[in-house]
């Protein structure tokens, strides 16, 4: 493989995150997670609740919730180590470098400031514009975002807007900084499907127009298939499979990914019956020994109950943490 001309925009190396449970017990919630995002690339991070995907996203921006902290690893953005830097340096990266949008816009917007001002503030703070220029930019963004009657809408407060409009305002504020990387934490989960479709189309077009990279966290596989090229699948705090979305969802090489694909109902056919994954994900601090997924796995053997199961490369940019990855994925063998 020829060396890539540029280093990745974002590199997460061996990241581990510890959280404090009630009773002051420290447990590892995210363990040894490594992945990268290239400039202009859209990468999906998929997993169920408690898989550690949102913590991973927050660690990148240095906004872990109280009680959680990075216990090992590095996060590099444009070659700069974000975890080693001080708060002032991090503040420079936030905004113009990396911005994040959240699931619930009501908590990300200031309830007592008109939404237009919030977009203007973001643009002024990060790009040093005059109020007048920033206002014009806010209006342009709002229109671009498909906000109807944008001028009137920007003079309202967050509670006066519908969920879909609030989400668009939050995205507009994020984009006012023109970030090179947009972190998305399930930004459409609370929205109706027609609004979700509009926002996904908008994000896709912004990536194409501005060359903005996306790191998109969700549990919705179908949504990722619309938006991203590559996927990282997380289970119980670790990445268990990665690859191009087209390959990975068509022929998963980890039983967990296979389970997620089978459990996703297909609106275009009812040929496949819906199959869930038996059991539920382990709670924090109660990860089984061996492969974390083995208690729920139909392929598991005795060999899966003990030992370590790191991500193994399978060729073609794919990797899986399953002992039987080649068999499950229908691949000839590793490295071929």
């Amino acid at each position: 493989m020829p060396p890539s001309p540029r280093p990745p925009l974002l590199e997460v190396d061996n990241l581990s995150i510890a959280v404090t449970l009630p009773g002051a017990r420290r447990v590892t919630a995210v363990e040894d997670v490594s992945f990268s995002v290239d400039a202009g690339e859209a990468v999906g991070l998929v997993g169920e609740s408690g898989s550690g995907k949102s913590l991973t996203l927050r660690a990148i921006l240095g906004i872990l919730p109280p009680g959680a902290s990075v216990s090992a690893g590095r996060v590099r953005f444009e070659g700069k180590d974000l975890l080693a830097g001080n708060e002032a340096e991090l503040r420079n990266v936030r905004g113009r470098g990396i911005t994040m949008i959240f699931q619930e816009p009501m908590t990300a917007l200031n309830p007592v400031v008109r939404v237009g001002e919030q977009i203007v503030d973001a643009a002024r703070g990060k790009r040093g514009w005059s109020r007048k220029v920033a206002r014009a930019e806010a209006l342009r963004l709002a229109r671009h975002m498909g906000i109807p009657d944008a001028e009137a809408c920007l003079s309202l407060y967050p509670h006066e807007l519908s969920g879909g409009l609030r989400q668009r305002v939050m995205i507009a504020a994020a984009l006012a900084c023109q970030p090179r990387l947009l972190l998305c934490d399930e930004p459409t989960t609370a929205l109706d499907v027609t609004i979700q479709a509009e926002i996904v189309a908008l994000l896709a077009s912004l990536r194409a127009e501005l060359g903005m990279s996306l790191l998109y966290v969700t549990h919705n596989l179908a949504l990722l298939a619309q938006l991203c090229r590559r996927v990282e699948v997380m289970y119980a705090g670790r990445i268990v499979e990665r690859g191009l979305i087209a390959d990975t969802f068509a022929a998963p090489s980890h039983p967990y990914t296979r389970g997620l694909v089978r459990a996703t109902p297909d609106v275009d056919s009812v040929v496949d019956t819906l199959v869930g994954i038996p059991g539920s994900a382990p709670p924090l601090g109660a990860r089984p020994t061996g492969c974390s997924f083995h208690p729920r796995c139909e392929t598991a053997t005795n060999a899966c109950r003990t030992g370590d199961f790191p991500l193994r490369p399978l060729g073609n940019g794919r990797a899986s943490a399953c002992l039987y990855a080649e068999r499950i994925g229908g691949l000839a063998g590793a490295g071929t």
Partner: protein
């Protein structure tokens, strides 16, 4: 033809809404008629504000309709003074079992409460009856001593379903019962509903915004928009030959794991208007790519759109070629 178990006839629900200082009435459900046959699973789909949850609550007796009547098992189903025996026959399952179960009670206590309040079994038989209920929802008896926070989301929803089954209902009204669950767990609950219909002969009204789940579970579907049913028919008719532009927009908006065929894309634009300021004529026209002059003048009623029995749509173009390509 079998008589319906439940009929809604021209049901409307109004809420008072504060608006610009005054109070005005908003119709959350507007003149809705629907029939549910015994052992049938009917899906009601729509986006937020469509009135689907309000309709569910009307059936369960939690919201009083402003107009219209409900008939259950060939007898009038009153809202006020609904006899206990009748209430028992219609049960509801909610979206979030975490808030519908008592956080301080064990599963044993929650099930025992229902069984003893309704005097369904002798006190000494409560333990056995509780275990049998859990078995029906595929939970081990060992979960009897767990409290809601000690269970996973899927287990909680199964307990909520077991509790509603305790009174041996004929009709279960499930309001978004799988929306809050992880996808791997969702499938199991959907299969459980299908199994309960098969084994117990339950009838189910299934409220959802996820059309893919509805396609897998329901026999018939009603699509609601801004308080009205805009299209209804057999599940296959709705998914293979959707007629109303709103149904087509909903289907077009669903992200696909395997991008492929389906009905021709007809996306909607913008957001639903406010119930406070409904557009004149057809309430979907402000977002409809096919709207024309007539749509602003008169509101279309539900008309038959195919030779398929009971496939109805409320659209001025329902019979025209533009919609049936």
């Amino acid at each position: 033809m079998t008589a319906p178990l439940l009929s809604l006839r021209q049901v409307s629900v109004t809420f008072a809404s504060r608006h610009g200082g005054g109070r005005i009435k908003v119709r959350a459900v507007d003149n809705v008629s629907l029939e549910v046959k015994p052992r049938e699973i009917v899906g009601i789909v729509g986006e937020s504000g469509s009135g689907k949850s309000t309709l569910a609550r009307v059936i369960a007796g939690l919201v009083e309709p402003a107009a219209g009547e409900l008939v259950f098992d060939s007898a009038d189903l009153p809202f006020r003074k609904r006899p206990v025996a009748l209430r028992r026959r219609i049960q509801m399952v909610f979206q979030d079992p975490y808030s519908s179960l008592d956080p301080r009670m064990t599963v044993r206590q929650q099930l025992a409460e229902v069984l003893s309040v309704h005097r369904l079994v002798a006190p000494r038989a409560i333990e056995a009856a509780s275990s049998a209920l859990l078995e029906q929802v595929h939970l081990p008896a060992s979960i009897l001593d767990a409290r809601p926070r000690q269970m996973s989301g899927g287990q909680r929803q199964r307990v909520a379903i077991a509790r509603s089954l305790a009174v041996q209902p004929d009709l279960l009204v499930a309001d978004e019962p799988v929306s809050a669950l992880d996808v791997s767990v969702q499938a199991g609950i959907v299969r459980l509903f299908a199994e309960l219909r098969r084994k117990l002969g339950l009838t189910l009204v299934f409220i959802a915004h996820d059309l893919a789940v509805v396609r897998h579970l329901c026999d018939r579907v009603a699509v609601m928009y801004m308080g009205r049913i805009v299209e209804t028919g057999a599940t296959d008719a709705i998914f293979l030959a959707p007629c109303h532009p709103y149904t087509r927009a909903l289907l077009a908006a669903i992200p696909r794991l395997r991008p492929a065929g389906g009905a021709a894309q007809l996306p909607a634009t913008g957001e639903p208007p406010s119930l406070v300021r409904l557009p004149s004529g057809c309430r979907f026209r402000t977002r409809c790519p096919l709207a024309f002059a007539t749509c602003a003048e008169t509101e279309p009623g539900l008309v038959s759109v195919s030779d398929q029995e009971w496939h109805l749509a409320a659209c001025h173009l329902a019979a025209s070629a533009e919609l049936t390509n």
